[in-house]
Amino acid sequence: MNKLTDLTSAIQSIPDGTLLGLGGNTLNRAPMAAVMELARQKKHGLRLVKTAGGMDVDLLCFAGCVASVDAGFVSYETEYSLCQHYRQAVQAGTVKANEHACYTVISALRAASYGIPFMPVRGLQISDLVAANDYFAAVADPFTGETLNAVKAIRPQVSVIHAHLADERGNACIEGPKYDDILLSRASQTVIVTAERIVGDQYFSAGNIKADIPHFMVSAVVYAPRGAAPCACANTYGVRDEDIRSFLALDTAGDLDTWLQRRS
């Protein structure tokens, strides 16, 4: 089945309110082309899931697309500093910050991929995060009685992952660091892949490189060269400093619209 489609159509398939997984890590291989299109289409009530988010989370918060963020860390890292739009939205009460340890996002995704409702984790022994959040709860080991903490499964309805290579059927390959994207694909109901390069039908079957994400998990493939920009994409390009700085300098929703239209 040919799942190759354009970015607009692929993103139109994501309803308001979707529990949405985002691939990559901070400014590394974030699916920015898809994120910018989500903002252009003015989605509402998205519930974002990511171990460590950055510009993707910040931009969607700025655009008013977000209801909640489940993440262990949300920042641009040191050079570009804090995610001010995320931060202001949480402080204003318009976005709910569901703070995890990065590992508890991983554990929640593992639970979903294993088809079980929660995952026990060691850690969180002394943390206010447990009492403050309803997705954590104490759980007893049924064999020894030892108390651990459980984290509730997170099963994203859709995840958007930017890959280096994909074929038209949806087989996708990530070069370099994969971060949590393979797990994210298994935990999600479906995956939208954006790819730097579309390869031929026989690319994976004829060669030694095999896809990390198999076609049957993927609902749409989008050809998106520089689809992580202005974030970085391993082996391919680094961050585009001027675009990150011009985004950080935006003031109003109108400025953001203009900035987004210039990059469509």
Binding site: N25, T26, L27, N28, T51, A52, A71, G72, F73, V74, S75, Y76, E77, T78, E79, Y80, L82, C83, Y86, R87, V90, Q91, G93, A97, E99, H100, A101, C102, Y103, T104, I106, V121, R122, G123, L124, Q125, I126, S127, D128, L129, A132, G176, P177, K178, Y179, D180, L183, A232, A234, N235, G238, V239
Partner: protein, 238 residues
């Protein structure tokens, strides 16, 4: 004049022992460079673990915008991604985790979550990343923080992101260590003084013996220059 970033990076490096498994995460250029320094000097067999999952990257060309990028992958010798690093810590196999935060109390508690109420925060911080699971499970959680004032070293945390196995906290003024469940002064940098530390710490300063942090050696400074010619160890002071 010794720069705070150099004395901090060197101090972090010296806390790594040869052969230990050592992890740092995002926003962590200083510990990243400290691990490379330790491996280039006294701890060649330390095992460098990171988020992209490149084990022991060899002479990586560091990037300014991330401490979790493909630079740590390209020259690595094995793949051991973040999920595996966390699992290693959960089963007791991670020796050192480098972490930070914005508030610390006298009992080694760390807040990286919020200032004010968790649900209606005055300031939403980036979040603790791995802290809540690594601080209690790693054998030693080593904290660095480039700010040292009374709001940072406070009587009472707004929120406890994690407590656990904090072993040292390295600041631009001094090194704290945990002793009997309490943060005590281990050494004061020669660029500071015990008075300055006390004036900038909201809880009482206690110590067993007062030492001066040994300054960076010529060799350490030379090696830092080779590892980090772009001076990313100073990013947090910009």
């Amino acid at each position: 004049m010794i720069r705070p970033c150099d004395i901090m990076t060197v101090s972090l490096a010296r806390l790594i022992r040869d052969g230990e498994t050592v992890f740092h995460g995002v926003s962590s250029h200083m510990p990243l460079i400290a691990v490379l320094l330790a491996k280039a000097t006294h701890a060649p067999n330390a095992v460098h673990l990171n988020i992209p999952g490149g084990v022991d990257p060899y002479k990586p060309r560091l990037q300014s915008f991330t401490s979790a990028g493909d630079d740590l992958w390209q020259t690595a010798e094995a793949a051991f991604p973040l999920q595996d690093v966390f699992d290693l810590s959960m089963r007791g196999g991670l020796d050192v985790a480098f972490l930070s935060g914005v508030q610390f109390d006298s009992r080694g508690g760390v807040n990286a979550s919020v200032i004010g109420d968790y649900r209606k925060p005055k300031i939403r911080l980036p979040g603790g990343a791995g802290s809540a699971v690594l601080i209690p499970t790693a054998k030693r959680a080593i904290i660095w923080r480039t700010k040292h004032d009374k709001r940072t070293f406070t009587q009472k945390l707004d929120f406890v992101t994690a407590r656990g196995n904090v072993s040292e906290i390295v600041t631009p003024l001094c090194i704290f260590t945990m002793f009997g469940g309490e943060l005590i002064l281990k050494s004061v940098h020669q660029t500071s003084s015990i008075e300055e530390v006390a004036d900038n710490t909201a809880f009482p300063i206690r110590y067993l013996s007062l030492a001066t942090t040994p300054p960076p050696t010529e060799e350490e400074l030379r090696t830092l220059q080779v590892i980090d010619p772009q001076d990313y160890r100073n990013l947090e002071f910009h």
